[in-house]
């Protein structure tokens, strides 16, 4: 990765004018973070694993994995069938370029050691600086840097868990759920996203490991966001995590995964599956903010089944990665159900964010809205890909889609591919999309007030994504804004 990144970096320097080169060189010496991904976050820790499956994929690996986890035989059968589906299905020909994935060069299962050790002094300075600038709390820094296997605020998590347990809320890892509550698990697992849904859902079904299992009982309102963050340790931060959520009648909860700190991954494929069941009258919000390292293919299938008068909200922030293909979906199956997707995509050098949403209306008086904002710069590409479908005999469906794309320089690109299938004549469907660059007059105004061009740009980008950022929990919103500032430095002049 290092040599490749160095290459692209040189190429970019060649493209810049002499004056710009000097200016950016000055900026770089002032701020050593401001290089490419490797320099900014490219850290890894010496690997120490109890068990590591050999690279490549086949039935033996899947059997071995299932045995290691001590799973029931139905799960092994499920995995093996899914593996067949995976081999049978061709790679998607649409979307981003997937030809770079080498399926034989990936570890499909790694069982980490209980206590990876690493001293804080060994953590690269750049990374400490990144944490500093993102304003990540001291305790979390150590966890993220791999110094502590368990998040320092174990105590906080414990008290949170007690509080949740009192109300009957289950918030455990998916592996644990399979062991401890097999009946509830089997009732919902793979029912919304079966292995033959798509190639990467099949891959996940065959080799899944980790992820969260959440059950919110009837009528329970969980006030604090459920943060996967608290629960995650190395074992759960897998590349093939599987999340299963059931929000029972009239309940409410907000689940948050990921964080703005860069996620280092040793293998370059992340294929997760997330299934959410929202029962009548319930409301569930699922927030993702992820910042993958620049060589990761992030291919995730997310889907929610929304019943009568229930509400599902996906808040989806896509940063980092080489290619992201992710289209959170709401299947609105009960009368009066509502689905919402808020999506931000940010594509920098060498990145393609192919994100969007799907709204499938199969019941009367269902409504949905999709708001997508994307920013591309330094040769990045953002694509919005969406589907709104209205089934026959579903009166009173309403949908609104709004996509705005910002292109910051002439090397970058943006696409919009929406599809609207209206099979009931009473449906009201609206779609609007714009692609533009930052207005010269806005830049000029801000610069006349004493801001540098970079500061003005980053302020305008923050303003552009603000409608979505304000929906995030406060600490995430603050971190995301700082991250974008950090990423944008050196993108001009």
């Amino acid at each position: 990765m290092s040599s490749k990144n160095a290459g692209t970096f040189r190429l970019e320097s060649d493209l810049m004018g002499q004056r710009q080169l000097q200016a950016s060189a000055k900026k770089r010496t002032k701020n050593p973070l401001n290089r490419d991904y490797k320099a900014k976050y490219g850290f890894s820790q010496p690997e120490r694993h109890v068990f590591k499956a050999k690279k490549g994929l086949g039935p033996e690996i899947v059997r071995q994995l299932s045995t290691m986890k001590g799973e029931p035989s139905w799960m092994l059968d499920f995995r093996l069938k899914a593996l067949e589906v995976f081999f049978r299905k061709p790679l998607p020909t649409w979307g981003g370029d997937l030809s770079g994935i080498d399926f034989d060069n990936i570890h499909y299962y790694i069982k980490p050691t209980a206590h990876p050790e690493r001293s804080w002094d060994d953590v690269p300075r750049e990374m400490k600086d990144t944490f500093e600038r993102l304003g990540i709390p001291e305790a979390e820094r150590k966890f993220l840097a791999g110094v502590k296997a368990q998040y320092d605020s174990e105590v906080i998590y414990d008290s949170l868990r007690k509080e949740l347990a009192q109300e009957g809320v289950i918030f455990i890892s998916t592996d644990e759920a399979l062991r401890t509550m097999p009946e509830l698990f089997a009732k919902y697992f793979g029912k919304l996203i079966p292995p033959n849904d798509n190639k990467f859902a099949a891959l996940n079904s065959a080799v899944w490991s980790g992820g969260s299992f959440v059950y919110i009982p009837k009528g329970v309102v969980v006030k604090r966001p459920l943060q996967a963050y608290f629960r995650i340790n190395a074992a759960n931060m897998g590349q093939f995590e599987r999340t299963l959520i059931i929000a029972d009648e009239g309940s409410y909860a907000h689940y948050v995964e990921g964080c703005t700190a860069p996620v280092y991954s040793s293998d370059s494929l992340h294929a997760a599956v997330v299934e959410v069941f929202v029962k009548p009258g319930a409301r569930f919000r699922y927030t993702t903010i992820q910042n993958w390292s620049g060589d990761v293919y992030n291919l995730v299938t997310k889907r929610a089944r929304v019943e009568k008068n229930a509400i599902m909200e996906w808040v989806d922030g896509n940063l980092g990665s080489k290619l992201t293909m992710k289209y959170p979906a709401c299947f609105l199956v009960g009368e009066g159900a509502r689905g919402e997707v808020l999506s931000i995509a940010y594509a920098g050098k060498g990145q393609h964010q192919d994100a969007g949403a799907k709204m499938v209306h199969t019941a009367p008086h269902t409504s949905s809205s999709i708001i997508s904002k994307s920013v591309s710069l330094q040769g990045g590409r953002t694509s919005y890909r969406g589907l709104v479908s209205v089934s026959p005999n579903t009166p009173g469906v309403k949908n609104r889609v709004e996509c705005d794309a910002l292109i910051l320089d002439s090397q970058s690109a943006s696409d919009t591919f929406p599809t609207m299938q209206v099979n009931d004549s009473s449906a009201n469907i609206e779609h609007e999309a714009t692609v533009s660059k930052i207005g010269e007059e806005k830049l000029f105004y801000l610069m006349s007030r004493g801001l540098t061009e970079a500061e003005a740009m980053s302020l305008l980008v923050s303003g552009f994504i603000e409608p979505i950022v304000k929906e995030l929990p406060l600490e995430y919103a603050v971190e995301l804004n700082r991250l974008i500032e950090l990423e944008m430095e050196g993108s001009v002049g």
Binding site: I407, V422, A427, I429, E430, H431, A433
Partner: protein, 198 residues
């Protein structure tokens, strides 16, 4: 800007030589073949409008694509498509705007509006943007929906029958597009086909 009637076949390609208004004449309505128009801008400074209006009834099916390809700087394209679907009519529209890397300072806008009048009417719409240049204005809007019941109610309260009220609203729906057509003869011809007084 000259107005031209354009017959759209399965793969009609136009390389724009001078600024023009292109009014689509989809004569083979109800045939399941795709009608496709590709309009390419190869000279800077050219402007074009693509105007398409259709009424479908019975079990008619219309498959239509319009593709605007901007290859050079400073071109402008406005695309307006309006369709009214009665009975079990089906429309499937793809409207693409492609702006290639050299085509800075391009303005391209596309709008498609479908009125679903018949209970069994269905529509699919795919407005696509592929933008590879930065200094551009590109946007699209698409809507699909039934006649506004409030509009009908208002007209009925003024003594119009249900059928008359519907006709008035549908005429109004087409008028904004028809009034863009600069050539009177062509405007009249299109209006007659749509059964709209001009």
């Amino acid at each position: 800007m000259k107005t031209r009637l354009v017959k759209v076949g399965s793969n009609t390609k136009i390389r724009l030589k001078e600024s023009a208004q292109l009014v689509l004449e989809a004569t083979d309505l109800g045939v399941n073949d795709r009608h496709s128009l590709t309009l390419t801008f190869e000279r800077p400074g050219l402007e074009a409008e693509i105007l398409g209006a259709f009424k479908l009834s019975g079990k008619q099916v219309l498959n239509l694509s319009t593709i605007a390809v901007h290859k050079v700087p400073k071109t402008k394209c406005l695309t307006y498509i309006k369709g009214v679907l009665f009975d079990q009519a089906v429309s499937d529209y793809i409207g693409k705007i492609i702006i290639e890397p050299p085509a800075g300072q391009t303005t391209s806008y596309l709008e498609d509006n479908i009125l679903l009048v018949g209970r069994g009417a269905r529509s699919t719409s795919q407005p696509v943007l592929e933008i590879e240049a930065d200094d551009v204005k590109a946007s699209h809007g698409a809507t699909a929906g039934p006649l506004n019941p409030e509009h009908i109610y208002y007209l009925r309260s003024r003594g119009l029958t249900e059928a008359e009220a519907k006709n008035v609203v549908i005429e109004g729906f087409f008028t904004s597009l028809l009034s863009r057509i600069k050539d009177e003869k062509i405007r009249n011809k299109v209006s007659r086909r749509l059964n709209v007084r001009s």
